[in-house]
Amino acid sequence: MSALELALRVGAWSICTVFVLAMAYLFHRQLPMGRPALSAISLMVLSIFLTTLFLFLAGLLGLLRPGPLAAIGAGGLALMAAIPSWRASLLQVPRDFGALVHHLRALWGSLPGWLRAFSAAAILISLLRFAFLVWALPPFVWDSLTYHLTNVAHWTQAGKIELFDTPILRIYTPANYEVLAAWFTVFLHHDAVVEAAGIPVYLLAAIAVYAGARSLGCSRPGSWMGAMAYASTPALLLATTGTKNDPHIAAYYLTSLALLLDLAGKRRAADPRHSLSSFILLAVTLLLAAGTKAYIAHLLPGLAAMALLAPGIRRALPHWRGRLAQAAQGWRSLGAWSRRSLALLLLGGVLLGGYWNVRNWVVTGNPFYPYGVTIGSARVISGGERTARLNLARLADNLESLADKFGDAAGPIEPDLPETTGWGWFFYGLGLAAILYACLTRSGFRPLALGFLLSLLVLMLSIRPSPFNLRYLLWFPAVACLAYACWLEDLPSHPRVIPVAAAAMFCAALALNLATTLNYNRVSLDRFGLMLERPLWERQAALLKLNMPPEYEHAILFGPADELLGYNVGDNGFVYPLFRADYRQRLIYIPVSGADDCGSIAAHMRQHGTDYLFVAEGHTSGEVIQQVRDCAQDGGLMMEESRGLYVIDAGS
């Protein structure tokens, strides 16, 4: 990529970023929250939501290219400048930015000196760590290489969001995360920074823990420490740059929790607009989550229980009726223009929350395709090659698996969490004791703890027992961080040894959490070296010899980069690495089986417009590999160009 082309691409990206942030700011002004932490949540959620919506609509219209996107962004900015009320609102940005800086300075000033020094060091190290991992490594987590990033690669290459022919049926699952990830690939037409797609929600999750702690009545320093503790959770840190959607669900869950805690509190009787804003933001967050991963539905009972119990079980109904009445009053107080714009915002939420399932319903007859749904022994929704089950046997199996992993004693913490919970030093060292303390001493904390527990149990009723399913629980360690924030409120300042010991343990736990995630505990130094010796633009997922069969490396090194490449892998095979980092490689699935003879395989390839067929050990069925290998050895129709890469013999 030339410097000029790179500058143009970055320029288009910048225009679109300013456009989306300006839109987010305009909506943010329509949703006054009344508290700085909730205002920060509002701005973050709206920015993530509108980025996803913008790219989603452009993708459906086939405009997923830097040029058209930049044109829309520039046109949108010009429109904002031309409409007086929007222009007047945008002119308030410097004033609001000043207020934000003021709040941040007040927060920073409220922290004790040792915490300021520790926080500054932790933030700096975290920034360097994120930047290094994003810059140094290509994507390598299994599910990303099978379906998350396969969607992203196809959309980026095709310039539109669409279904395509592939054996990886999980490309049908809700894909708001993938749309957001495309924001990091579409403009550069490259995956160099795609791992950064988790960082916005990582920040959102930490802010949500801070806001939740403040709603529980914790001080600024205590809430800050709780948020820092959650941000240091190893499982979350590893997943954030792991190109997966679980950190997104964790962030949306914790954001909903923070909004519900605020609504459940008594402090908000004055301004009906604040209640309205919280309800609208809650709806937007949950709809965004619904279109990201279906298991948010399994977490809702816990949120609902917390919302009902927090105001007190007897006062719950009048309390929530009062909140809804306030929201309705807030709605009536709005002008027609504000009502329309907020209705549009909610409509966008319904679109992002429902599109994927409605599309699947229309295309396959099953909204949850490729999953059929079984509750107990009854098949509730048929169709689909996989089954989502809800039954008590799963609960027992999953709890047993959780018990086995509890304590993280079986091995290092890795992104897929095969042997550990990944909850880290803080959760086990300080968090467990803090949960016990907060449950015993704080009546306001108990509904929260029960909500977390219920969410965990309902989730465990339904997730497939597998060594890798603890990634669905990234949100859970937040309960310990909130409990710790509560505990800090009761920590006496004398004798001096008590706060000193508590601070030392806090710093030690967070430093060890950070230390354990400096790399992914899977990538050895020589693998880092392998990538670092290549220019940024040539760091290919296929070349990171981690979980990658050598056939993928051969396909990149010897394959036909500018021609159509046929491939055959199973329903859990890697497709993404074949696209190449710059998405130059066009791909086509060749649906052959071991029963096809050489002539039939060649015919399938020709019929799909390619002379090449890629297969790989562990990803393609053994029968197909054996068959194409035999075809090549017979010396008839096909020959082996390099390991795993077969080409139709030009002379045949």
């Binding site: 290092p412 030093w425 006496p492 060890l512 790399n519 990538v523 050895s524 981690l546």
Partner: protein
Amino acid sequence: MSPAERALSKLEIWGLLAASALLMAWYAYPQFIFSLYPLYELVRLLLPGLLPDVAPAASSMTAPTGSAG
């Protein structure tokens, strides 16, 4: 707060600190080794040749874990 309540409150705080210290000690084996290993690798990356490669001894850290399914 009565003297008895104050004493109980202090006991709670000390108890929690002691429990936390015990839990951290429990968590430390074997996570302490796993936590320091990336730091060790970082030093090896920044100062090549200073420290030996112990990766074969900790082979579980580089072994592929297979499909997340």
